[in-house]
């Protein structure tokens, strides 16, 4: 028994796959599936936290799957960014699994909610951990297949409408992604991301490299719901069950953002002046369109969906500025956003149970009837808008400070205005849902499929996390800082995957 520490890299993928397979085996027992949902994601969270600590100690953890050496086999790599993302997946997985105990009906379970839930987590973690660009595509597909099915679970008309837009845009993105991989492989003859980074530095046809970079930008831009490819998101995220919405809102677009971070730091860092300038414009327009779109909405989850779009803009802004502090800000923003956004969606679900509607016009009076919920709404809502001392304040502060240092005045102005407009949206929800009296007789409390405590627990837990990130932000900031260092100095990643002498040996053989 000499298990190496590298095993931790594979476990965040293996555990959800096992839990999903077991849920299928216990197809008939809803109790077993629920237990597997909660304890499977709890196990995932434990493993991912261990992975984070191990990655903090070792810098990079690498596992060559099946003992096939890099760059020929598929490697799983965990650096700080990947480990942080995996931990966030664990947190959101556990929160939604607990919420699902009363938020997902037996009918939906019979359609295969839990196996798909685990498959989605496995796909998301696979995308975070893989060090192989084609494998990244495969994990994207695993995640998408699961998300397609989760999106239409229940088969209502609105869900189908949303799903058509979602599926079409995402298939287009996959096709672009795949052709970009093909071109990249043709240029470098390898699929290992570290190896691509090494070989791309020597490619003379930099024009073609930029074309491939743009293809990746469009493909991941669609997945991340960046401008101008965002419209599938507000068209679909408000249609499925709230637990599914929260899972999607927390994780799916962030996989696209993660892929942008990975690819545009490790691989396409040769012509930053061109590619990252475009990213800067995308970021600004994404922030603006998202927040303006939200201002016109009067459905709880649609407002939140548009705010996902605007928040994605901040993260991409961090990448686009491409200074150490900006990357720190981007990573910090991702951490803050995933927790806050999933929580807001969960709150919209609890509101629905208590008051019977998602439409702001039909809601009201929650402050009077459930003051505690109002408090727990204020925490993530104000954090999203960036009020101190909550997590969102520091996330925005770091990014805006980085913008000032980089003298990107327009971007700073946009970021500040968007923050203000976010506050407007949150105040709108507050006024309509919590403050005003509920109109008589339009909507009534819905029967939940379990005790409401299971809905409260994740909301309280995530809200506490938001406060903690704000009050004790130092360790989180240090983690983000370490991940930014690793992202900007790619030699550590390359050396960890390919071995110390690889680059020199390659240059030697070329001579």
């Amino acid at each position: 028994m000499n298990v190496s520490v590298d095993v931790l890299v594979a476990l965040p993928i293996v555990l959800p796959l096992l839990a999903g397979a077991l849920s299928l085996v216990f197809w008939r027992s809803h109790a077993a599936q629920r237990m597997l949902g909660v304890f499977g994601s709890l196990g995932l969270l434990v493993v991912s936290v261990l992975l984070l600590f191990a990655t903090w100690d070792h810098g990079h953890l690498v596992m060559e799957m099946g003992d096939w050496p890099a760059p020929f086999g598929i490697v799983l790599v965990s650096d700080m960014l990947a480990a942080i993302m995996v931990v966030l997946t664990g947190i959101i997985g556990l929160a939604t699994a607990v919420y699902s105990l009363s938020g997902v009906s037996v009918r939906h379970e019979r359609y295969g909610y839990y196996p798909l839930f685990h498959l989605l987590l496995a796909g998301v973690n696979g995308a975070f951990l893989t060090g192989d660009i084609f494998n990244l595509y495969v994990w994207f597909e695993v995640m998408l297949v699961a998300s397609f099915a989760l999106l239409i679970l229940g088969g209502e008309r609105a869900q189908m409408e949303g799903a058509i837009k979602y599926v079409t845009l995402n298939l287009l993105s996959s096709a672009l992604f795949l052709s970009a991989i093909g071109l990249l492989y043709g240029l470098t003859g390898t699929l290992n991301m570290a190896d691509i980074a090494v070989k791309l530095a020597e490619v003379e046809d930099t024009g073609l490299v930029t074309v491939i970079a743009m293809l990746f930008m469009v493909a991941f831009g669609i997945k991340a719901a960046a401008f101008p490819f965002f419209f599938w998101l507000p068209a679909s995220y408000h249609t499925p069950k709230v637990a599914v919405s929260a899972l999607f809102a927390g994780l799916l677009t962030k996989v696209g953002v993660y892929a942008l971070f990975r690819v545009f730091t490790l691989i396409f860092n040769h012509d930053v002046g061109y590619t990252h300038e475009i990213l800067l414009w995308i970021a600004m327009l994404t922030m603006l369109t998202g927040v303006l779109g939200a201002a016109a909405q009067f459905e709880f989850r649609r407002i939140l969906s548009f705010h996902i779009v605007s928040q994605i803009g901040y993260m991409i802004l961090g990448l686009a500025l491409f200074t150490p502090l900006a990357i720190v800000g981007g990573v910090f923003y991702i951490m803050h956003h995933i927790i806050v956004k999933a929580n807001l969606f969960l709150i919209s679900g609890l509101t629905y149970q208590l008051k019977g509607s998602h439409e702001l016009k039909q809601l009201g009076g929650l402050y009077r009837s459930n003051p505690m919920l109002a408090v727990f709404f204020m925490v993530p809502a104000l954090s999203l808008a960036g009020l101190p001392p909550l997590s969102g304040f520091f996330a925005k502060f770091i990014i805006i400070r980085a913008g000032i240092e980089a003298e990107a005045w327009l971007a700073v102005a946009v970021a500040l205005v968007v923050g203000l407009l976010t506050l407007y949206s949150m105040v709108k929800i507050w006024n309509e849902v919590f403050w005003k009296a509920q109109p008589e007789g339009v909507a009534h409390a819905q029967p939940a499929s379990g005790p409401l405590i299971w809905m409260w627990l994740p909301i309280i837990g995530l809200a506490l996390m938001t406060v903690m990130i704000g009050l004790y932000g130092q360790p989180i900031f240090e983690m983000a800082e370490r991940s930014a260092e690793q992202l900007l100095d790619t030699s550590g990643y390359i050396e960890a995957v390919l071995g110390a002498g690889y680059v020199e040996a390659l240059q030697e053989s070329r001579r």
């Binding site: 000499n2 594979a10 397979a21 299928l24 216990f26 197809w27 003992d67 799983l76 196996p115």
Partner: protein, 141 residues
Amino acid sequence: MNMQSLILRTAGHFLLPLLLLFSLFLLFRGHNEPGGGFIAGLVAAAAVVLYLFSMDIDAARRVLRVDPRSLLGSGMLLAVLSGVPGIFRGQPFFTAQWWEITVPGLGMVKLSSVLLFDIGVYLVVIGAVLTIMLTLAEAED
């Protein structure tokens, strides 16, 4: 769904075991030669689907004995678990493990975790295809 064809019904009875045997042959042959869990699973699923066409859904479910979803789940379980033994020897996940066993009458037989993975794939393919086909057939009724 029932085709009411005497020829098909009669043939279905004989073809089912033959095709299942053939699928097993493909599964084990796949280790070193063309074949393998995926194609074998398709053949096995096709055998049951043929039976479904010649008889009816209940007959097909009876001959299958287990819910195809359980097949899907257990296959997936087997496939993922087949990657585990390597890690207890300090090797990466999914590293192939080999065991040599002497079977009376056959001589030495090499067993490997790769074979377990292939059987897992076999079950997953059967389970997935039959889940789809049986659901469609039920929707038709």
